[in-house]
Symmetry: C2
Subunit: 215 residues, 2 copies
């Protein structure tokens, strides 16, 4: 039985109900831990699920940051150091990853509070990676886009390096994030493992859909 | 065994390899069929996996469109009619959904070519929904943001209505998209079902992580 909810009903929802409902609508989401630090080297770790592939050449990824009404440690750190890391989340530590969304004071690093280990790469000395994470992406700040409609901020980073389990890379460039243990999220607080149906070959008119297998 | 790939190596990759590799990195993605039509009512249906929640109040969703080097029917239709639909994808028709990515000429509607049924709502008369889809979102065009870094275009829509199976809505606004059969994707051509680990309660410092169950 299908139900319809209109924009008017959404406008009248209680704030938390609306936030949960609308956040459900975009489907399953990329979810990562974003690692940053301030100019003094104090680390910060925050879970983000508004992450978007912007382009492959140059390799760009965007993250959407909430309005600057309350302190946004991630944003101010990125603006201070011009870099950040994205770290995929595995089932083994998704609860700790969720815990990074608690409002810790600036003096407390979520690495310590939630039980993660910061590690550094020589290519990206001013942003910590999460050692527990299997797939880690280092980015340098590329552009800030202010979205006037609701004062959110799209931060676009250019990929500097990618660290991943070598056995997860297929012959054609596909990185098997499911094999690496990456999970997905829905809405604001639901976490899910995945099971591949198939990879499908490049679609062409008048050709049937065919599966693509690992060589 | 971890492997590191640097920006320099990414720049030297063969085009298709790089496209597949970089598209893998953002994790599991929202994937939807975007329904549009031109001013004459000719329908178009295209699979998109660059979809991002922009905000809940007002309810906004963004989709990223590739550069306008080749004809982009979805973009020109949205600019002509100022509206579009997002339709979640289920296991039952993910292969047909993938097939909409083939380059059909403008005269052929992917609804016909790939076996989908357009349906209309009185609130959104100028964009077709996909009848086979369980969760359907109708949006009106709100803003176009040109991303200078790579000439992609972020189209932001304001939600006009949401159609979903009524039994999937929890007491707190969470829409159980897994129960509705929504699938996720990775990279450009891999499709995955999901299995919930848990929903987790709103995180607070000094409180242990707790699961959130349906009332």
């Amino acid at each position: 039985m299908l139900r319809t909810i209109t924009a008017q009903e959404i406008a009248q929802m209680e704030d938390f109900f609306r936030r949960t409902f609308v956040n459900s609508l975009t489907g399953f989401k990329s979810v990562c831990l974003v690692g940053t630090q301030d100019k003094e080297g104090k680390t910060n770790l925050a879970i983000f699920s508004q992450i978007i592939h912007i382009g492959a050449n140059p390799p760009l990824i965007g993250i959407l940051v909430r309005p600057e009404k309350s302190p946004r440690h991630t944003l101010s750190n990125i603006e201070a150091t011009r870099c950040f890391t994205l770290n995929h989340i595995r089932e083994e530590f998704y609860q700790q990853a969720h815990q990074t969304s608690a409002r810790y004071p600036k003096e407390i690093s979520e690495f310590d509070a939630c039980g993660f280990t910061p590690v550094y790469s020589s290519l990206l000395p001013h942003a910590p990676y999460v050692q527990e994470s299997n797939i880690r992406i280092g980015l340098e700040f590329a552009e800030r886009i202010n979205i006037q409609l609701n004062d959110t901020i799209l931060i676009i980073g250019k990929i500097i390096e990618v660290i991943f389990p070598k056995e997860c890379l297929w012959h054609d460039g596909y990185l098997d994030i499911e094999q690496a243990g990456t999970i997905t999220s829905s809405a604001l607080d639901s976490y899910h493992t995945t099971k591949r149906l198939a990879r499908l070959q490049y679609a062409k008119p008048n050709l049937p859909v065919r599966e693509l297998n690992r060589l």
